[in-house]
């Protein structure tokens, strides 16, 4: 299992928080990384997807993307470089063209680039083959396949290495790859090149990544939880719950590094994940990592989702909707439908495990961000003071209603998507088959997107009528009959279907947790009032002396 990352995509919040939280990565490292993330195609879109490619690259940089061998992707990259160089005598400029000349880092783009090269010439060296899914590299009675799905990741890695340390490694990297390409392909040559690159990367990590401040954070959280464990006389257990997060913030927010509530929430989430992943270390170490389907970006979208209690490699299902061709369909309007659920989707299962803390993050964390921004841009005392009493805080009940409304929208999207997918199958079978259904709409939906044997699906004209109705009422990009004839459009809906299942699952479960909160002692409104008072007091303590 890979590590996962929890981030919010709330730019405003990130703006304010990043300057506070920067503690382990050096400026040059951040610059190297951000440059790759900001590389754009001529249409202004980013070359590399935020997720999974840039998320993966971040993991690689900190040394947690390669499984037991953290630099295994370098080994993989060396295979790919050998193959690209074996297609021409052009050397480094052909390499650069393949890795840097591509505008959109997508598997299909690399597939097309390779096929175009092969159309005009064959491999100049033995040991290479275009396989169904990528490039086969053969040596010493052994073989290695670099799949097209891996190429966006490897291109990002190539680009990162090329620009490493303000291009300080550029010349040496090209020499390493030139040496590799001049030799006959064999394991030894690949290993030599990989080790040279790894050695440089180790030096880079030592220089630019420090653990000390993160270790301090860990120790502080651990110490705090242990003290609570002793006070509560628990039997060798530490408990992470909503009161723990709030109490921690109240105790340490004046210290500096834990001033932002979001930093505390993130810290607790990472703490939980760290304990869980350390617990599963043996499993991780025994897992085969290179070329897993998840990283290949070629697996079914629902394979990337997770149940609320799952501890898998969670990533926001909204990211799936951002990938082509699903991004051609407007499943969500940005402000009203997507933004309110972005954090919930990013934190996924962990939001549900700390439901009140998550609500506090959503409602009061955003006010703290606004205060911080006010201070940074020097908006003045009046602006800050207006926020200190949290008078504009969204009530938990209103937040719940917002989630319910969006869930209802997701349900409509699911029906419309079902119509597209099942309707497509129906069209394949004949005009007289128009409807499918079952007791459980989700299972029908799943069956449709997986193209299961339609004979097994219980027919229900009511369900299909609902689906048709939902499709026709969604007057937005992608929800029109032309899409039914477009293979890319169908594929977009198929991808979207997995994401929608995951989104509805997260929303439903979180709403269940909110309902439980509502019944646990005081109702949601009372809890909101209490929290409002607590946060307002603390904000006054932290920012009340603003001039």
């Amino acid at each position: 299992m890979e590590t996962q990352t929890i981030i919010t995509s709330n730019d405003q919040m990130d703006d304010a928080v990043s300057t506070i939280t920067r503690s382990g990565a050096s400026g040059p490292l951040l610059a190297d990384f951000k440059a790759i993330g900001e590389a754009t195609a001529s249409d202004g879109s980013t070359k590399y997807s935020h997720a999974p490619v840039m998320v993966w690259l971040a993991k690689f940089i900190v040394g947690s993307a390669g499984g037991p061998h953290k630099d295994a992707p370098i080994f993989e990259l060396c295979h790919l470089v050998s193959a690209i160089d074996a297609l021409s005598e052009g050397g480094s400029d052909e390499r650069a063209l393949f890795f840097l000349g591509v505008e959109k880092a997508l598997p299909a783009v690399y597939r097309a680039a390779l096929d175009e090269k092969l159309e005009f010439g064959d491999w100049l060296k033995p040991g290479f083959e275009r396989t169904e899914n990528g490039i086969g590299v053969y040596y010493d009675d052994d073989g290695f396949e670099v799949r097209f799905g891996r190429m966006p990741f490897l291109a990002a890695l190539y680009e990162f290495l090329t620009g490493l340390d303000n291009y300080d490694f550029y010349t040496e990297l090209n020499e390493i790859f030139d040496d590799l390409s001049q030799a006959s392909i064999d394991l030894e040559a690949i290993k030599t090149a990989s080790n040279r690159i790894s050695a440089r990367l180790r030096k880079y990590r030592r220089e630019h990544l420090t653990r000390a401040q993160h270790d301090e954070k860990f120790d502080r959280i651990f110490g705090f939880l242990k003290a609570r464990e002793n006070a509560g006389e628990r039997d060798g257990q530490i408990c992470i719950d909503d009161p723990a997060v709030l109490d921690f913030w109240l105790e340490f927010s004046t210290v500096g590094e834990f001033r932002a509530y979001k930093t505390v929430f993130d810290g607790f989430v990472n703490f939980m994940r760290a304990l869980e992943e350390a617990d599963q270390q043996d499993t991780i170490e025994n897992a085969a990592i290179i070329g897993t389907d998840f990283e290949a970006q070629e697996i079914e979208p629902d394979d990337q989702s997770d149940g609320l209690d799952g501890l898998g490699d969670w990533q926001s299902p909204l990211n799936i909707l951002d990938a082509e061709p699903a991004n051609q369909i407007k499943f969500f309007k940005k402000e009203g439908e997507r933004k309110p659920i972005e954090a919930l989707m990013q934190y996924g299962p962990y939001a549900g495990r700390l439901p009140r803390s998550f609500m506090q993050l959503e409602v009061f964390g955003s006010i703290q961000t606004a205060i911080t921004t006010d201070l940074q841009v020097k908006r003045g005392e009046t602006s800050v003071r207006q926020r200190l009493d949290c008078r504009d805080a969204m009530a938990y009940d209103d937040k719940r209603e917002q989630f319910q409304t969006i869930l209802a929208h997701v349900r409509q999207l699911q029906k419309a998507t079902y119509f597209v997918l099942a309707g497509q199958d129906a069209a394949d079978l004949g005009d007289n088959i128009v409807a499918f259904g079952a007791q459980n709409p989700d299972s029908v939906f799943e069956a449709a997107r997986h193209n299961d044997n339609l004979d097994d699906i219980e027919m229900s004209s009511d369900f299909m009528a609902d689906a048709v109705d939902a499709f026709s009422k969604l007057t937005r990009k992608g929800f029109n009959e032309d899409m039914l004839e477009d293979p890319d459009g169908i594929e977009g809906f198929r991808m979207g279907a997995g994401a929608l299942l995951s989104i509805s699952g997260q929303l439903e479960t979180f709403l269940t947790r909110m309902a439980a909160l509502d019944k646990d002692g005081e109702d949601l409104n009372s809890k909101f009032d209490q929290d409002k008072q607590v946060f307002s007091n603390q904000f006054n303590l932290l920012y009340g002396d603003v001039q």
Partner: protein
Amino acid sequence: MSDYKIPGDEKLQAAKQKFSELSQIDELLSSSEKLSSVSPSALFAYANGAENETVEKALGENLALRRIYRDMLEKNAVYYVPEAMAASSAKKSDDILSREGKGCRIRMEPSRAEPNQVYVIVELSGNEKVTPTTLVVCDVEANCSRFPLPKIRDGVAQIIADRDADLVRLLSDPKTEAFIR
């Protein structure tokens, strides 16, 4: 709510390492600091003719980056004209330089009609499949200037420029080198 058994020393160290990695990942992905850095693909695109003010600005400030850019230019150029000092065929007359590279020659001739103007004549004799569109001239510190080439007829492109124009000044400097792509 989640309960965890208090980990032993070994597991605690593993968790600490993991916590650090997760925090570093968050930091990388959420940083919104304004950091000026040019991605290799942006530099590569610029070396291949794309316009990019950020790259231009960074090149103006960073010698190391200019050298990489020059390297990319060289690798992607259709024709290369080295600095005149190294080229035995360089000729100099009336402060106007003529210089040659493999498959190409760049010479300058004064305009008879306008004494303040000069014809920059780019002659291409190579059989390259790609039709060049840009002339890039770089000085010893890899400060490079780009000049669009007019349509090439029978292997010749002609540019008329003022005597004090950048193009003429750069080509008159024997230590500059030119890339045609």
